[in-house]
């Protein structure tokens, strides 16, 4: 799966597809519009070149070559000046209505797609932090289950003796990932 930024074309294609999926799976199409309107706002803000300390960057997880997202990923770049004060935050991963509906029915292929999408979002966001000149990625744990998963992820990251370059720590509801090497270079 590919992790990449939304543009107008992929946003509109995703909105159309998610609307039709909502109708097919008994969701409200208006709910889909509400779920995706932040992307429209972020694209409009980017087009008007408004700068802010908290810039919303719309990313999605796409099947290779597709312009319809399987999941949306809400990233926020917090910029308070210096590199050490610049963080990329992954706030939320939202699956398409079809994948969400099928996951609820415990469809294994849909669950597999969900896992791969979250994996692509995490790894993609970690990689993207460099493109946005940030040294830290923060993953938001919006509910208890996601926080438990993040604690487990942190434990595995920290027990890897071969690669100690990723430093993971828990800060409240956030799992914070950064490169130890970057940290050293910043000091």
């Amino acid at each position: 799966m590919e992790f990449r930024q939304f543009d107008r074309e992929s946003y509109e294609a995703t909105l159309d597809k998610w609307r039709s999926e909502a109708e097919q799976y008994d969701f409200f199409p208006e709910e889909v519009e509400r779920k995706l309107c932040w992307i429209d706002n972020a694209l409009t803000t980017a087009e008007s070149a408004v700068t802010s300390q908290q810039t919303v960057i719309p990313y999605g997880v796409f099947q290779p070559g597709s312009i319809v997202a399987a999941a949306t990923c809400e990233l926020v770049l917090s910029d308070r000046g210096s590199l050490s004060d610049k963080w990329l935050k992954l706030l939320k991963v939202t699956m398409s209505p079809e994948i969400e509906a099928l996951s609820e029915e415990e469809d294994l292929a849909a669950i597999d797609t969900t896992i791969h999408a979250y994996r692509a979002a995490t790894l993609g966001a970690y990689s993207a932090r460099l493109e946005h000149a940030a040294d830290t990625l923060k993953l938001f744990g919006r509910n208890a289950d996601l926080q438990r998963f993040q604690i487990m992820l942190m434990a595995f990251i920290q027990q890897d003796p071969e690669h100690s370059s990723i430093v993971a720590s828990k800060q409240g509801r956030w799992l914070v990932l950064k490169s130890a090497t970057t940290t050293e270079e910043c000091l």
Binding site: T94, S103, T114, I115, L123, F149, F156, E162, S165
Partner: protein
């Protein structure tokens, strides 16, 4: 500026190091998913429903 480490070599080294970090993170992620059970992670990512 040192001539022993041209910018391109430094960049390649940085990218190699970054790829290693990503591989490490990928492995950690897979282990965490297995330990947590994929269904639980899928449920955690689902939109929370508001009871009517």
């Amino acid at each position: 500026m040192s001539t022993q480490h041209p910018t391109s070599a430094a960049f390649v080294r940085k990218m190699q190091q970054h790829s290693e970090e990503l591989r490490c993170l990928a492995r950690a992620f897979d282990q965490a998913v297995l330990a947590f059970e994929p269904q639980k992670l899928a449920a955690a990512l689902r939109e929370e429903k508001v009871a009517s």
